[in-house]
């Protein structure tokens, strides 16, 4: 087997492994069961997309896709951080997230002003 043949085979194998990983991660995204599980699988999807972009960059030779992978990693990190803050916020004050409680609180605060 020459180097080129091995390279083509490696591209095909790694693409199929990544696609299998995508399917398993989406399975965890669907079955959950909790919100942090789903956030974690979204984070894993971003990581898998970076790997997918890496294979695609090597396949086509357009190295500009590497910048896209870096930007995707940054966005994924910020998204996971924001989701984690959301879970923390939801845990510390669940009453703020329901509309009725918010209306009640608004009326209370306006009553205090009057």
């Amino acid at each position: 087997m020459t180097g080129e043949e091995f390279f083509d085979l490696a591209i095909i194998i790694s693409f199929s492994l990544i696609v299998l990983s995508f399917l398993l991660t989406i399975g965890r995204l669907i079955i959950g069961p909790t919100l942090p599980d789903r956030i974690l699988s979204l984070d894993m999807l971003v990581t898998l997309a970076i790997g997918f972009i890496a294979i695609f960059t090597i396949l086509t030779g357009y190295y500009a896709y590497l910048d896209m992978a870096i930007a995707l990693g940054l966005v994924g990190f910020l998204a996971t951080t924001a989701f984690a803050r959301f879970v923390l916020y939801q845990a510390s004050s669940p009453e703020l997230l329901s509309d009725e409680a918010e209306d009640e609180k608004l009326s209370v605060s306006s009553g205090e002003k009057n």
Partner: protein, 127 residues
């Protein structure tokens, strides 16, 4: 020779990603799943970016790929730690087979801050 190194790195990286995905689907609770996804997943994608650096054999592309790897290695533990802490404070129960929970009783504050009460903490530190 460089194409062979690139191919091997790609296959190893994709295999690590697949292992991470299998761990994500097989492990029993969110904390152990985080252990699989954030370590094996980051290593897999990092190896693939290193494969780009080998394939390009160009200093600008290679340095950018190495910088991306360093960036992912820096951010993955931070996001995993934040998510694990948020999940613990939110009351996600660890797996019933968990042997040791050293944080038990420390998150008594409703805001999710670590409690300053050290009476229980001293017992845990001796473990």
């Amino acid at each position: 020779m460089l194409t062979i190194i690139t191919g091997v790195l790609l296959i190893i990286g994709a295999a690590f990603n697949l292992i991470a995905a299998i761990g994500l689907i097989r492990f029993p609770d969110v904390f152990t799943r985080m252990h699989a996804a954030s370590k094996a997943g980051t290593l897999g994608s990092g190896l693939m970016l290193v494969a780009i650096a080998f394939h390009a054999s160009d200093i600008s592309v290679g340095s950018k790929a190495i910088a991306a790897v360093v960036f992912f290695l820096l951010t993955a533990p931070i996001s995993a730690h934040l998510l694990a802490r948020a999940a613990y404070v939110a009351g996600i129960e660890p797996w019933e087979g968990t042997v040791l929970d050293q944080l038990k009783g420390h998150y008594t504050d409703e805001e999710g801050h670590l409690s300053a009460d050290d009476e229980e903490g001293d017992e845990d530190k001796t473990l």
